[in-house]
Amino acid sequence: MMITLLLGTLVVIRLMSVSQMASVLSGEDEDVAQKRDNSMNSIGLMLFMVVGLALMIYMTIKYQPFLLPVAASVHGAETDFLLNINFAVIGVVFFITQIMLFWFVYKYQHDKNRRALFYPDNHKLELIWTVVPTIVLSALIVTGLREWNKMTQGHPDDGMVVQVYGYQFNWITRYSGPDNKLGRSYYKLISDTNPLGIDYSDPASKDDIMTKGNEMHLPKGVPIQFIFNSRDVIHSAYFPHFRTQMNCVPGMDTRFYMEATITTNEMKGITKNEKFDYVLLCNKICGVAHYNMKMTVVVDEPAEFSNWLKGEKKVIDAAPTAELEQNNTTASTVNTEVAL
């Protein structure tokens, strides 16, 4: 801040002399742009445009490896394709309109001896540039919505059910076990030993598995039905590599269906990075340690995954007997369907 202030004062002092000089040098209405100002500034705009567009292309190429990491899910590959089409379309529009904008300003600089063309409208032109964007946008809407419908219309019983549970400031995952059903949970049952508030009296909870440690495993090539919940504030479960994101909202279930296509090991090869790991990040501001709320995600071959899961303890095995016996009658499912 000191440096900023210092620089600021210097700049101002310097500029005061510039402005004084300018007033001395020029004539009467010198605060209105003169011929020289027009040509200098329009050359400036052309330069700005050319250099700007060049830098943009350069940076896009240079940072290509870090932009959009390789998509590791079925729908992710499709949305990436769609994204690229969209970028191509808007890229073309971007180049055409920016170039016209700056080029016209350069080309039609003021000349006292010339008049602008009096051209207040042209209905045909206006019709064209209303209809053409409409057609292009319709195409984008249709392709976008087709993908959206495809990725959101999973059958509720499809896929392996996995719960992702957010709380300040960490994640817990729960696997539904052989019955593929999560046991009920209720927030008033939450305790140190029962962080999810599972109702052990629900038979569906008997085979549920909650993972310890800050790591979540997923099998490759198996459709997964995520169910997201939160205990305190809104979190957002964001898996950048799977192009998957869904808010975790207290008092409500949210869902997302996806299928991972690349194991962590394969990805290490693809990215040529031995240390590569998938990640689950929190992407909704949730408190002071929001930036640290993450979990490592490991995608295994299905066989590896089953082995790993077998090594994890069932929730009821980990629970203290006192809690198991507390046959809680208040417990109820929290299954708020999202209303239209």
């Binding site: 801040m1 900023t4 700049v11 101002v12 510039v18 209405d29 010198e30 605060d31 209105v32 742009a33 100002d37 329009s42 705009l45 940072y63 870090f66 990491p69 769609l82 994204l83 969209n86 808007i90 971007f94 920016q98 904008l101 700056f102 300003v105 039609y108 600089q109 003021h110 010339r114 008049r115 009096f118 051209y119 540039w129 964007p133 409409t134 984008l140 809407i141 976008g144 919505l145 959206w148 300040q168 927030y187 205990r231 305190d232 998957t244 994101q245 869904m246 808010n247 909202v249 008092g251 990640v279 990040l281 992407n283 501001i285 408190g287 002071v288 929001h290 930036y291 209303a339 239209l340």
Partner: protein, 611 residues
Amino acid sequence: MEVRDNTHSGHAVAHDVHDHGHDDHHHDHHQTFITKYIFSTDHKMISKQFLVTAIIMAFLAMGMSMIFRLQLAWPDETFPFLESMIGKWGKDGKLDSGFYLALVTIHGTIMVFMVLTGGLSGTFSNLLIPLQVGARDMASGLLNMLSFWFFAASSLVMFGSLFIEAGPASGGWTVYPPLSALPQAIPGSGLGMTLWLVSMVLFIVSALLGGINYVATVINLRTKGMSMTRLPLTVWAFLITAILGILSFPVLVAAALLLVFDRSMGTSFYLSDIFIGGVPLDHTGGSPILYQHLFWFLGHPEVYIVLLPALGLASEVISTMARKPIFGYKAMIGSMLVIAFLSFIVWGHHMFVTGMNPFLGSVFVFTTLLVAIPSAVKVFNYIATLWKANIVLSPAMLFAIGLVSFFITGGLTGIILGDSALDINLHDTYFVVAHFHIVMGSSAIFGMFAGVYHWFPRMYGRMMNKSLGYLHFWITIICVYGVFFPMHFIGLAGVPRRYYANTAYEGFDQLININELISVFAIIAGVAQVIFAFNFFYSIYRGRKAPQNPWNSNTLEWTAPVEHVHGNWPGPIPEVHRWPYDYSKPNAKEDFIPQTVPYSQTPESNRPGDF
């Protein structure tokens, strides 16, 4: 159409809009310092009050952004001056992670509301509506004065909240509950959040008082001959903006009120099934998502409340400085109306990943992408206006061109974000930050700069220094693109916004260079604004005296005397005979024909469709 005009000296002057022979304004009444500069009811003074307040708030918010940019670019460095500046929040020269969020929150709130809503609409609607429609003042000078003072109070409360023990609100400018409802969740949700809500309610009162006044003035106080289709596009933009505000701000009051109830009276509008701080709360049955629907029902119109006045100012500046009629005047009005209408039915695009019913999501995709059509029409019309024009590059014109450039760049990324399937991966990343800072932040700020440079002679009777204006423009446009364009890359790489440090995931390590680049540009951009501030305040006292009509413009405000008089015109209000864009009309004597010139005086240039 009798209109009561309660002026500050206490006498009520009635004037009939249709009778311009009658003008009994007294210019001999004396004004004290207080009635002239503080509790003024004169729209020209109120406009300056809004502008100066907004400039101060903008510097404050910009200073905050410089602090958090330091943190983002150099997370491992310490900056000892922080401790002397912000005390315990910068202990040992490290920015506190909670205070980082507070800075982001207050920065966003001040910029969106105090600078780009209050500052932009307040300044230019006030200055230009009466002067351009040919009115003595706003419909109600008293409400207008109150509008400013509520705005000032709101700004003060927001500023004051920076100094409280637990820190200001820090849940992001959108203050989503439960985070904003529970002090247990984040310290800023205690007193800081209460002050935030108080400030916002004051702000909304100000916006509503201003809005109804602007609408009433445009509808009722137009001078003779000023039909709606002869209004400058600025006035159209202010009118539509005011209507948007009147319809949407009350919904924010409702959202805020329910939040207040949840916070202090134990209701459960937004809260349900929460276990925090080791205990379960009693709240049950509420939905945090309800808040988001209410917030964005205002929030999306709000972005156009910010943008439309800027577009209006740009239309006027571009046409005047291009010496050419704005292309497609009616289409410009039409597209503003369509944008305004659509802006009420797209709010769901901020909520694609809240678990919203996918079919409802599809509807929002559809309406959202529809907005792109009138937006595109506006851009094409600006470009067509420049085609075969005769362009004078004043600093205002440069800023207006910058606005169009930003509007294109940022509007195009909106098309990607509006596609729900693509938004899943981009929501809440830096891609969104890039999108809205370019399309809303930068466009609107550039519109505001264009307005200030262009109408400064009308506000202060003096000219701003041109060379400093050019310097300011060049540094600013380069730095603004330098700051926000690279954010697209960071966003595509998957970096979430509102992160105190990008250290959580090794994959982000390669991006630190981009973050440093951004921060360097941000700091230079900040410093460059000192040039503007200097030019502004210096020119108020020392600028060259302004000529009557420095830009050879057609609109009415340039017929009013350079030295402000109460009631705007010493004699009768001028009558209007034509639309505002007769620039470079073939065969006309000069390249502009002011709106006050009757067709009977310009037989040489009249065209068949003119009458």
